[in-house]
Symmetry: C2
Subunit: 188 residues, 2 copies
DNA sequence: AGAAATATGTCAATATGGCTGACGTAAACG
DNA sequence: CGTTTACGTCAGCCATATTGACATATTTCT
């Protein structure tokens, strides 16, 4: 699956004897420590992620931006002075795709570009005040949801969630993601 | 943020005295039980989700399908006999958008339609054998990743992850999502 | 110095997956 | 019988991504 929305549900009009267990169950089966099918986590991950990014989507839409802009502002804010090539590598999109989004952000004073000091071919990217403010607001929004969730859950949840999410990442990428996170987060 | 990819990182060419903590930190701050900034979870959620859906994306691409098809096959498989209107409500897209995807799936024998028994205006949706097999494979793929992650983490992780993810969902939607999950999962 | 590689930008065409508005048809409902 | 409902479809638009080709500056290598 990929982003999905909820709201209403399939009805089951006249209790047509279809209420019980159904397909997709054998495939799910148990997977992990207890005897609960992983399909639960599959769908929860979906809905959780949908609402998680939904917060930002709204704010962005009001500015005429989309998720692509969010990604750029977020990463540039987290890694000031990153090069265009670095951003492309992190986002894994083509420079043509980045081009439009970056241009819009630069034109609207969310992102600044500076030629590299040692290599003037490089365009080092920085958030302008507007971009920093936007990034701050977006992080605050998403932080709020996470804080609420953590508060609702037990005290060990943060650690567990952090570990679980990290384990969900491709093993090959994990080291880089950890580096990306800790580096920007001020990890020394 | 929204879906992002990792791989290389911003370089920091000549140790220009930029290695330390940087912006976006004050905004992150602590949020929850311990003193760790939520921004870690924000980014982990991203990368985890990216790889999570990436599994399916590959398989789908080989069939010429996209995420839209995945959603349809997944939900129809989980809720056999659901109506088009139900699917629209769950996916929260327009019927025009669903139309194309559904037509492709029907034309290629992944999904079957049957007129409703009591209300013949309804088109009840069922997975055809090919669709069931595809849904099974996709769930298996994602289950594998989850199982691996749970195995890597402690025994309590499943419970904690389940709770955390559920708490990340909008409070208003939570009951419906739980219903959606448990109903299809064989909840009586 | 000159050639090659690198970092970036840009033009053009294409695909996917959303959207809105308008209209049509069959069936149920009152 | 008229209205509403469930669904489908035509037509056009938008955002985001893609590929391929090519341009321009600048650095690096020989």
């Amino acid at each position: 699956m990929a982003d999905v929305n909820v709201s209403t549900l399939p009805h089951n009009p006249k209790g047509d004897g279809k209420g019980g267990p159904n397909p997709a169950q054998k495939a799910a089966e148990t997977a992990g420590d207890e005897g609960i099918p992983a399909i639960e986590l599959i769908e929860l991950l979906f809905f959780a992620y949908r609402d998680f990014v939904g917060d930002a989507d709204e704010m962005l839409a009001r500015l005429g931006f989309g998720r692509a802009h969010h990604r750029v502002v977020h990463f540039v804010n987290r890694h000031p002075g990153m090069r265009v090539a670095d951003l492309l590598a992190v986002l894994k999109i083509t420079k043509q795709s980045l081009g439009r989004v970056l241009r819009e952000l630069v034109d609207n004073d969310y992102i600044q570009q500076k030629a590299g000091a040692t290599d003037r071919r490089e365009r080092l990217l920085y958030v302008a005040p507007k971009g920093e403010e936007l990034a701050r607001q977006l992080v605050a929004l998403q932080t709020r949801r996470i804080a609420r969730a953590l508060n609702e859950c037990g005290p060990g949840t943060r650690i567990a969630a952090r570990k679980f999410l990290a384990s969900m990442i491709d093993p090959e990428s994990r080291a880089e993601v950890e580096r990306l996170i800790s580096r920007a987060a001020g990890g020394k």
